[in-house]
């Protein structure tokens, strides 16, 4: 069984490109390990099979720990440059929300299609203040705002969908499904090419993921309200300052003053007292990370956090 190929609207991204007789530009962005390269491989092979010339270039070097990965794919009758200039991408696929926003000005104004996962991967450096409930330096724009700003925007919770299908790693295939609706290739060919690139044993879940993405865009085209249904999925709970409470309980009778907690506290908020016992010198700096509790050989420190703080973890 294959997905329905007769869509309500023709392939919008390629329509404009073929009219102008120029290559189709697709920019895929994300962070390490999400499958950016896999998407570009599928795309490159598929367009090659259709007799197009393909150029693909990528940067993935610093990606191991959540770093930026991007891949430019250009295909058409004749492709000269391997990279896409600002404002010339016909489709921008973002596997991570903030990455999508970072590359947004590469999208062709007016006609560009923006396909993005709404799931946020917050990098550690976005948490400048390590206290519980502290404000994060992460993109504040809501998906609804972005959709209203771009020509065509499809924002879906691809990670959540893949999770429901049984394999979180199929999130990129969900987005491939969404992408496939904007290009001219038939659905069966997409599925056959995806089969070649996914690990053995995951073909079935990837086919399902692909169809999910395709159906999702179809539904969103018919019903704009559905298109925003995932926009606010999986928002991290926001804590008010008063709700966050961390308390350190130090048992002086058990403490032997070994100094481990003082030296290993990442915030340096502990000190040894005159009696050579651990004391909380700077309660305001304590984030409740529990390192002192884990490493106290004498079980003298107990970190108490409120229920709200636990829930935010």
């Amino acid at each position: 069984m294959t997905a329905d190929t007769s869509l309500d609207e023709p392939a919008e991204a390629t329509r404009e490109a073929s009219r102008a007789d120029r290559p189709t530009n697709i920019l895929i962005v994300g962070v390490g390990g999400q499958g950016v390269i896999m998407i570009s491989k599928v795309l490159a092979l598929l367009s090659q099979m259709h007799g197009a010339e393909v150029k693909q270039s990528e940067v993935h070097g610093m990606a191991k720990r959540g770093g930026v990965v991007f891949s430019h794919v250009r295909y058409g009758k004749k492709v000269w440059s391997p990279t896409i200039a600002k404002g010339e991408a016909d489709v921008l696929i973002a596997l991570e929300w903030a990455e999508g926003l970072r590359w947004l000005d590469f999208l062709r104004p007016g006609t560009g299609v923006f396909v993005s996962d709404t799931r946020k991967i917050v990098p550690p450096f976005a948490c400048r203040n390590r206290k519980f409930g502290a404000d994060r330096a992460y993109a504040k724009e809501t998906p609804a705002e972005i959709v209203s700003r771009v020509g065509n925007g499809y924002v879906l919770d691809a990670t959540g969908a893949a999770e429901d299908l049984g394999n979180t790693r199929a999130a990129n295939t969900v987005l491939l499904g969404a992408l496939s609706t904007t290009l001219e290739f038939p659905a069966e060919e997409w599925e056959n090419v995806i089969d070649q690139f996914v690990p053995k044993g995951t073909q079935e879940v990837n086919r399902e993921a692909f169809r999910y993405g395709r159906d999702w865009v179809e539904k969103a085209r018919r019903d704009p309200a559905f298109g925003l249904s995932d926009a606010n999925a999986y928002e991290a709970p926001v804590l008010l300052p008063g709700e966050v409470d961390v308390e350190l309980e130090i048992n002086e009778t058990w403490c032997k003053g070994c100094d481990i907690c003082v030296k290993l506290c990442p915030e340096r908020c502990l000190a040894l007292s005159e009696k050579h016992k651990a004391t909380l010198k700077n309660p305001a700096a304590c984030t409740g990370c529990r390192v002192c509790e884990w490493l106290c050989p004498d079980f003298a420190i107990r970190v108490k956090r409120t229920a709200a703080a636990e829930a935010a973890e």
Binding site: I260, V262, L295, P297, F299
Partner: protein, 282 residues
């Protein structure tokens, strides 16, 4: 890392170490900064997360600083003779297969005096867990050289530095047939807890080497710094990588690897023993 399933139906709330300690014996006797306390917390934490009832937990320990660790646990504890906790635990587990048996032993206890018991316990593959707290020295008796003392280190019996090669306990256990072998440092307490959890959940003999610190005797004699410096040095000395096969490591690696080295599905001795015709008749 795969999460180990808890005992069916067990609801484990936040871990509160006081629930698992004999409070009347606290504070414990160990020296300031001794890594054995961190290892004890990791064990109790793992027991808590696995949802094992205190009445169903039996901790057997030998002699030495590590031998005293078991005494602070509010469960069934058994303080045995030097080097023989595995022998006692084998009898206990065969008689009471319903108990979760954890053996706490030191480097000298299990590699020197109890070396024979260790290799044969590994060979039999009876379902129990051995936590070998390796602090590289006999701390309780004044700091004599042990089979794991690093080369050139000073102890009371090697006043000019140790010249003997070091025993690699994980290789020994894996070669003897232990079906689960792992090593972790006390600095990585949550990782240690996860390793112990896996080891306890494993059906068969599990060998866990815990790299601990003897701060007062070994650290002082060798000028290794105070407790924080010693525990932080674990970061430099260990490689957090699992090797598929411990035999591929050099005999005396400069930096020790941590992680799970062996996880095999071998017949468990207790089940094999009870399946014998003579046992079934009786």
């Amino acid at each position: 890392m795969n999460e180990v399933a808890t005992v069916a139906g067990a609801e484990t709330g936040p871990f509160e170490i006081r629930d698992y300690l004999r409070l009347e014996l606290m504070p414990h006797f160990m020296c300031p900064g001794c890594g054995h306390g961190i290892a004890l917390r990791a064990l109790l934490w793992a027991v808590h997360e696995l949802g094992i009832e205190k009445d169903k937990l039996a901790v057997v320990s030998g002699i030495g600083c590590s031998g005293r660790v078991g005494a602070y646990i509010d469960a069934n504890t058994f303080h045995t003779t030097h080097g023989r906790p595995l022998a006692f635990a084998t009898g206990l587990k065969l008689a009471r297969p319903d108990l979760t048996v954890v053996v706490i032993s030191g480097d000298g206890d299990s590699l020197a005096i109890g070396g024979n018991h260790l290799i044969h316990a590994c060979r039999r593959n009876l379902d129990m867990t051995l936590l070998m707290l390796n602090n590289e020295v006999y701390g309780m008796t004044g700091g004599q050289v042990s089979p794991t003392t690093s080369e050139h280190r000073l102890t009371t019996t090697t006043p000019t530095g140790n010249v003997e090669p070091v025993f690699d306990a994980c290789r020994l256990a894996a070669a003897s047939g232990a079906s689960f072998v792992g090593r972790e440092v006390t600095l990585q307490a949550p990782a240690l807890k996860n390793l112990v959890k896996k080891a306890i959940a494993h059906n068969g003999f599990s060998f866990v080497e815990v790299m601990s610190d003897c701060t007062e005797i070994y650290g002082r004699k060798n000028d290794l710094g105070e407790s924080p410096e010693m525990i932080l040095s674990q970061k430099a000395d260990m490689r957090p990588e699992a090797f598929g096969n411990v035999a591929d490591q050099p005999f005396r690696p400069h930096r020790l690897a941590t992680g799970v080295f062996a996880e095999l599905d071998r017949p468990e001795y207790g089940a094999v023993y009870r399946a014998q015709p003579a046992f079934r008749k009786g």
